[in-house]
Symmetry: C2
Subunit: 211 residues, 2 copies
Amino acid sequence: MLNQIAASEDLVFFRPHQFLTRENERPDALFDIVEGWACRHRLLSDGRRQITALYLPGDLCDPLWSLTSTCNEPVVALTNIRATRRTLNVADGYILDRQKGFSTRLAESVERQSNWLVSLGRKTAVERLAHLLLELFERMRRAGLAYGQQCALPLTQMDIADATGLTAVHVNRTLQSMRSKGVLELHSKWLRIPDLGALRDLAALGPNDAV
Amino acid sequence: MLNQIAASEDLVFFRPHQFLTRENERPDALFDIVEGWACRHRLLSDGRRQITALYLPGDLCDPLWSLTSTCNEPVVALTNIRATRRTLNVADGYILDRQKGFSTRLAESVERQSNWLVSLGRKTAVERLAHLLLELFERMRRAGLAYGQQCALPLTQMDIADATGLTAVHVNRTLQSMRSKGVLELHSKWLRIPDLGALRDLAALGPNDAV
DNA sequence: CCAGTGAGTTAGCTTATGTTAGCGTCGGGA
DNA sequence: TCCCGACGCTAACATAAGCTAACTCACTGG
């Protein structure tokens, strides 16, 4: 009944659009991203796409879905990626990890997914963008990859659109207007947030919400 | 490091709008709903509400959030509720349950949340409603609470709106149009689906999607 | 018996966001 | 060097969904 993380740790590489994991595959390993970004997404038959999770350097990918036996959402690289592949021993669907903050990451995943649900269900374009960029900046900061108020943000506007449930065109429009109001700068895959507080206000976060 | 479900099992009751769990409380127990419906939701400062999970008879509430130390979304009763309260031993954030299909329920929660994300992010009103009603019917069926093509559905149109990220008015409009097309009947908290296949088509589900 | 409340319904109008199309720039590959 | 495809950007127009408000119909409680 007791499970362990096996010792196996391969270093692996991916290019943009490459799959880290595929649909309908039993996940037997988790990727610990060392460098680069990835996402989990779902494609509808007519081409609509929804990104359901973003993975940044330092992220485990994916604690949540490792709990399921088969997964119907692939994980794809958004940039070049360097990662370590950690195989798991899974018995009876229970997962136990004694060495790293696995359960902490799990809890974060749960909370993030929930935040996204609220965002997609009830927030305006400005609020969604503010929320997303804030979240990403904060995660980069915690990963030690932010420099002052700035960090890398290697997403295309279409990626952002598919994460926020908007269109690329509308993302562009909305970003322009936010730029012109001075609450953020974003060009050539680089994000700067002059005033964290102002952006936080725009994000319509509750008093208890993290980020 | 080994945790157990303690023996404690109290029978508890709730009335509509009563809290099963509150915000910012450390969850030390899970509710097993015997009868009635509940939901988890988030309230924005201006009154907007998003339901992030629905709990039906037979559901555990909530496997996902029991993984976090404190939770920022309350669970409230939507109807009269009878439930058994199961206290947990939680050590270091890990949860282990040897007696019931806890991990199966966990996996289902993860998948449902993900489905909802796609729905809220990328689907039209008709698709969202078809998807939600289909999911609820299927869950009722599996709980042994469906009778042929029918089941109870004790949600108000506003509840449905807050689950699907729409307005009550628009839910009403859309339901009307679906009714007039004969793909569903819904009155006095009772749902009938004359043609499961037709509704499935409207829901824009992928080939791998459950429900 | 009536007043009050919550729910469903419908209509008219408004608006945020989607759609389509086109332009310019950049960088990589042949 | 020259394509060619991604990407960012913009404008004009289309539409799904939001907003407000009113009316009805149960129910419930006094």
